[in-house]
Each structure stands twice: as structure tokens, then as C-alpha cells.
């Protein structure tokens, strides 16, 4: 598998010390506990989720099995650049995540890509960045060397 699926934790703020953790495969263990989490808490959790890893992708499906052509395109682009150590979150398994990330990013569609906690865009933007060379530069800023640079070097 080319990506790591991180766990997230949400805690009730009302005083109860109940934590709900999401295991790596993305399923929610306690729906009732999650319902008690406020929307503001969820937005705060998203803020932490996008900063925990250099590259974060909210997508439909998983990198091993994308469920949407646009999400698949993002996975393929990252793979082409040798970026295989990123956090991906499957919004199809979590409706609250799916709607919450749209509010958080102020972006209406999935997939959504974050670099160093900053929203980059969706499939169209990532594709254009790949085509015009900007993606190589942006990855460099993250301290990630694009595999395409090595490919080009070998070709010379």
C-alpha cells in the first residue's frame, strides 16, 4: 500500500473523558459518542489532521482502491512524483468527515489536497501543477524530492 491511513481522535469537550479513535481502516467505532462531538470540535480536529503530515489527501476510497476518477488522478500524480508516504482519509466511510472537510476547506468537492497544513486544491489544480512543473517545486518546499527529477536525470 502506498499510503498511510492515520488515526484521528475526537474528544468530548463537555467534561466527559470519552475519546473516540478511528482505527487505520477508517471505520468509526462509536457513532453515538461521535454524535455528541460538537461541529466546532470536529473542525478543530480537522485543523490538526491537516497539519500532522506533510501531505494529506481527503479522497473517495483509498490510494490502493480509489472510488472516484478524480481521487484516482490525485493518487496517480502523487505516485508519479514518488510521494507514497502521505495521510489519506476516505470520506466515503465517514459522512461527517465528508461534509466537515468541505466546510473546513471552504471547498465543495472531493478530493482535497493539503501540503504542510495548507490547502492546495483538488484534482484540477494538482494536475495543472504537475503539468506546469509547480508540483516539483512545491514538493521541494516540503523537503520532498520528486521522483520525476531522478527520472529526468537518468534520461540525460
Amino acid at each position: 500500500m502506498n499510503s498511510l491511513i492515520r488515526t484521528t481522535a475526537r474528544c468530548l469537550r463537555s467534561g466527559a473523558a470519552v475519546c473516540v479513535s478511528r482505527p487505520a481502516h477508517g471505520r468509526v467505532w462509536s457513532a453515538s459518542a461521535r454524535l455528541l462531538c460538537s461541529a466546532a470540535d470536529f473542525q478543530k480536529d480537522l485543523g490538526e489532521m491537516v497539519k500532522k503530515d506533510k501531505v494529506v489527501v481527503f479522497m473517495k476510497g483509498t490510494p490502493a482502491q480509489p472510488m472516484c476518477g478524480f481521487s484516482n488522478a490525485v493518487v496517480q500524480i502523487l505516485r508519479m512524483h514518488g510521494v507514497d508516504n502521505y495521510a489519506s482519509y476516505n470520506v466515503l466511510e465517514d459522512q461527517e468527515l465528508r461534509e466537515g472537510v468541505k466546510v473546513f476547506s471552504n471547498w465543495p468537492t472531493i478530493p482535497q489536497v493539503y501540503f504542510n497544513g495548507e490547502f492546495v486544491g483538488g484534482c484540477d489544480i494538482l494536475l495543472q501543477m504537475h503539468q506546469n512543473g509547480d508540483l516539483v517545486e512545491e514538493l521541494k518546499k516540503l523537503g520532498v524530492r520528486s521522483a520525476l527529477l531522478d527520472t529526468e536525470k537518468e534520461a540525460k
Binding site: 473517495k60 476510497g61 480509489p66 472510488m67 472516484c68 476518477g69 478524480f70 481521487s71 484516482n72 488522478a73 496517480q76 500524480i77 508519479m80 466515503l92 459522512q95 465528508r98 471552504n106 471547498w107 465543495p108 468537492t109 490547502f119 492546495v120 486544491g121 483538488g122 484534482c123 484540477d124 489544480i125 494536475l127 495543472q128 501543477m129 504537475h130 503539468q131 512543473g133 516539483v136 520525476l148 527520472t151
Partner: protein
């Protein structure tokens, strides 16, 4: 030259539908009255951006939704209003213009937002990747299709 990526994970026959002629926007032609969402998208993008060139493609047929749906669109907007703006800002402006549609009946929106100079040097609308069936059984898509019909 960066290699192009393959947007198909599996062979898909719907690529053939991409060879159909593009529906260029011409102000003197009436849009299809049987496609209200497409008409609304054209009108809003025209009003907001006064584009030099505008294309609105209903790509719903490429996805796992019923025939005649207006849920998946690709738009090309060429406007001098995009001068000096980064891609994300341009896309946010388009999203804002179509906010109502995106929160109701439109499930997916592929955007190409270019300045007139950029369009002149590369007038390609782009192609959407093949559907991988994510809309099938997706209740939020069903809700949006219902919203489009009402």
C-alpha cells in the same frame, strides 16, 4: 518535459464519448431548455466573469448516475478577471459563482480557469478522468439528483 499521467486505471469505453464536438458558448444561441442546470451555470459564469470564452460540459453520462442527469460538469472559463490570480483563487471564484448549484444538485465540478493569454497559448479544455463508480449507491449523489429534479 514531464510525462503525462494516465487518468484511466482501467480500460473504459466512455473515452469514446469525449470525442464528441465541444459545446462552445455562443450568446446568440439559446441553451437547451431541457437542461436547466447547464443553463444556469452558463448564465451565472457569464454574469460573473464576462468571459472571452466559456464552455460548460455536462459530463454526468460519464458517471454512475441515471441518464439525463445534471450532476457532473466540466467548465472552461477564460476571463481577464483571472489575471494575476493563483489557480486556487480562480477556482474559489468559480466555486463561489456556482455556490448554490454545488450545494444542491451539482456533485462534481471540474474547472479550467485561464486568462486570455493563457488560453491563446494552450486552448485545450482538458479531459475528466474516468469514473470509478463512486457515485453508485452514494446517497448524497441520489439526494443531489433529486434536488436537481425538483
Amino acid at each position: 518535459m514531464l510525462p503525462s499521467i494516465s487518468l484511466c486505471a482501467r480500460p473504459v469505453t466512455t473515452w469514446l464519448s469525449l470525442t464528441r464536438p465541444l459545446a462552445h458558448f455562443r450568446p446568440h444561441m439559446d441553451p437547451d431548455p431541457s437542461r436547466p442546470v447547464e443553463r444556469t451555470i452558463r448564465t451565472k459564469l457569464t454574469n460573473v466573469f464576462q468571459p472571452e470564452h466559456l464552455e460548460v460540459h455536462n459530463e454526468s453520462h460519464m458517471h454512475a448516475v441515471p441518464p439525463g442527469s445534471e450532476s457532473h460538469f466540466r467548465v472552461v472559463v477564460v476571463s481577464s478577471q483571472f489575471e494575476g490570480l493563483p489557480l486556487i483563487q480562480r477556482h474559489r471564484l468559480v466555486n463561489e459563482a456556482l455556490k448554490e448549484e454545488l450545494s444542491s444538485c451539482v456533485h462534481a465540478l471540474a474547472i479550467k480557469a485561464k486568462t486570455p493569454n493563457q488560453w491563446a497559448s494552450d486552448p485545450s479544455p482538458g479531459k475528466s478522468p474516468s469514473c470509478m463508480g463512486g457515485s453508485r449507491g452514494d446517497h448524497t449523489v441520489e439526494e443531489k439528483l433529486k434536488a436537481g429534479r425538483e
